[in-house]
Subunit: 380 residues, 2 copies
DNA sequence: CCATCGGATGTTTACGTAAACATAACAGCA
DNA sequence: TGCTGTTATGTTTACGTAAACATCCGATGG
């Protein structure tokens, strides 16, 4: 762990601490070591090297390298041969410096512990690759503002043209500080569409669908196992749940919360199992639903005969739960794709272009939901 | 942690308070956009700009920026003030060009669909960040050699100093082709320790522990629900399973396979449920174990009364399965950390340094395993 | 009192690429 | 034949940074 400490070379940073004498950047002592350049081994050949071997100017090599027209076929062949012989690879740092762009997108995410973030990240990486962009990952270990600020701070000097934030934006707000002016930002999971470009799943629509599904089966009302307070997604799901019940003229039970984890779903589930009038639960994500299923099972409440459970996300395992979970499918791939699309569009047009893009959910009915115990009517 | 200390060094960290305002940034309207140069809008200021404003040479700015000693306190203050005013950020492309390193690690991974890969990636990203390195993600959509080759091809011109491959190495072999000579590679999940530096979980030890656990409970033998043929991890788990049984003088049942997914575990499980003498199953990962549990449940075989099930990975949800799953805990965080450590060490020492580092597993006993139906003896 | 030293700062140069601006060779055409 | 327009290629320059080298200055000491 501590290894970092020993490497002043690392980031000369600590200097600030003190005009006092840190540093001397010491690590550098063995200066040769640093620059993997023409040290002991060989360095990657440069255009000049290729040019020399091919007997042309480096500009011609550049033209070949970038596929410009206007190079004699014969010459091109020679250059290509020389490139191959030397194992030439364009130096992306020099290229980025010259062109002023890195062809890289930074993704800031608060841990990869939730399926949604991971799926989204995956889709972002794929879409980006497809567009010729690389993705640089910026994990934020702890979602404190300090941490986020730190991530952004690092980001500032990072080689990225744009940033996608998979995180609640309120953390972002206080930390956004000094992003380089030309870097565009797109946010997932937020209601800050007025200030940023936001791409998100239709949390409200999905939640409403969950409630309607359960009410439609005859349940008198629906309990909600919500996500943590800090999460906008959780907040909106809870809000829509309440609203849908209100619209239907039902009384909303008190809100209970987990932290997205199966474990928390289990804890809350033990509690819910003792509520005699609890016949239908809408869990804010599938993992909590899993814990809930376990708790209900342990307490002898059958699903769906005694209690119906519906989740949110449709993670791959949901169909293998006991019983297979009815849930709302989120199209994370689409969310990721749209993020990349949006951020590239912003970059290219340089338009501010705020606003929120919503990706719909889809109700997937499996075996965890059914009519309430009393039968169709529920008893209202 | 230490991060806080380090930030201010490079830059006037807290700068922005005032300059803040995420601001539209859009000012760039004119097509100057691309070059983000000093066109209509503002560009990120360069050292020269800062130098001019502070009335010093750009070299002095460089010294301040990198925290060199030997800068008069007064001068330093002026430079920092100028940096702050202009919102100066070092240009990482220029820096990389000059220094010959990017401070970035590339991670090639075949999809993020398995928990293990994701957890490892996360740990890598965290460790790398801690060392002042960024992580660039290279997803390989389909694990064909063409795809892998493509990823590596992109990688060749990518701005990375080293590469970590989370993937079976046999795909790598045919594709590794032309990695830039100075780029170091570390591989996860492989037996190619003779050719690469490999970090991996103790697949064999874990599998052996699983078998011993079940035999110790009195089962006559242990079935194995293996992973896909292409995977080295699956291969080694299966191999160790067979070996452990052999050592104990037991007959190994035929090997059945899934593809890591819960769904496949379910399919195979339906089949296993019909085997009358199947009282204990070692699933090669937790997800398949989940599907297996469902299949057994549906077929009326109780776990652990009729059949014991043990998994591998200890994913977060395993403790919430029905019943909570006995499994082998993999320390992915440690794997990731070691990967980063190894790759950085290789980079710095420029030593080939092959060999395999093994991270031990830990048996986590929960409720899915117990004595066989007949009682302790099993009936041998 | 001058030679020397070392701290503080400035100047030159190179990193590898690619845009912008030359130049050269040659074909077409009046 | 001489002018013009292409096509193929070379030369110059700049991107932002930082190492290497150069300079300046006050202080120290013989």
């Amino acid at each position: 762990m501590d290894t970092s400490g020993r490497t002043p070379a690392n980031v000369p940073g600590p200097a600030a601490e003190a005009a006092a004498g840190p540093v001397d950047v010491g690590g550098n002592g063995p200066k040769a070591a640093r620059g993997r350049i023409r040290g002991g081994g060989r360095a990657s050949a440069s255009m000049a090297d290729v040019a020399r071997l091919a007997g042309v100017s480096s500009q011609t090599v550049s033209r070949v390298s970038n596929g410009y027209a206007g190079v004699n076929e014969e010459t091109r062949r020679q250059v290509l041969a020389a490139m191959k012989e030397l194992g030439y690879r364009p130096n992306s740092a020099a290229r980025a410096l010259k062109r002023g762009e890195f062809r890289t997108i930074g993704v800031i995410t608060f841990s990869l512990s939730t399926t949604g973030n991971v799926r989204t990240l995956e889709a972002i990486a794929n879409s980006a690759a497809h567009e010729g962009y690389a993705v640089t990952l910026l994990p934020v270990a702890v979602p404190t503002q300090d941490e986020v600020r730190g991530a952004f701070s690092r980001l500032e000097e990072l080689a990225v043209d744009a940033v996608i934030v998979i995180m609640e934006v309120h953390l972002l707000d206080a930390a956004t500080v000094t992003l380089p002016p030309h870097v565009q930002v797109v946010v997932v999971d937020s209601d800050a569409g007025d200030r940023y470009t936001v791409v998100d799943t239709d949390q409200a629509g999905g939640s409403r669908a969950a409630v309607h599904h359960l009410l439609g089966l005859g349940h008198r009302t629906v309990w909600h196992l919500g996500g943590p307070e800090g999460s906008f997604a959780a907040q909106r799901r809870a809000h829509a749940w309440r609203a849908a019940l209100a619209e239907a003229g039902r009384l909303a039970p008190r809100l209970v919360r987990g932290d997205w984890s199966a474990e928390s779903g289990y804890r809350v589930g033990l509690e819910l199992a003792t509520e005699p009038d609890c016949t239908a639960v809408f869990a804010a994500n599938d993992q909590m639903a899993l814990g809930l299923l376990r708790a209900l099972h342990e307490r002898g409440r059958r699903v769906p005969e005694d209690v119906s459970v519906i989740g949110f996300d449709d993670i791959a395992e949901a169909s293998s739960f006991l019983p297979p979970l009815t849930t709302l499918h989120q199209d994370f791939a689409e969310v990721g794709r749209l993020c990349v699309e949006a951020v590239l569009r912003k970059m290219r047009q340089d338009g501010p272009e705020r606003g929120t893009t919503i990706v719909p959910t889809r109700l997937v009915v499996r075996a965890s939901t059914g009519p309430p115990p009393g039968g169709g009517g529920g008893g209202s």
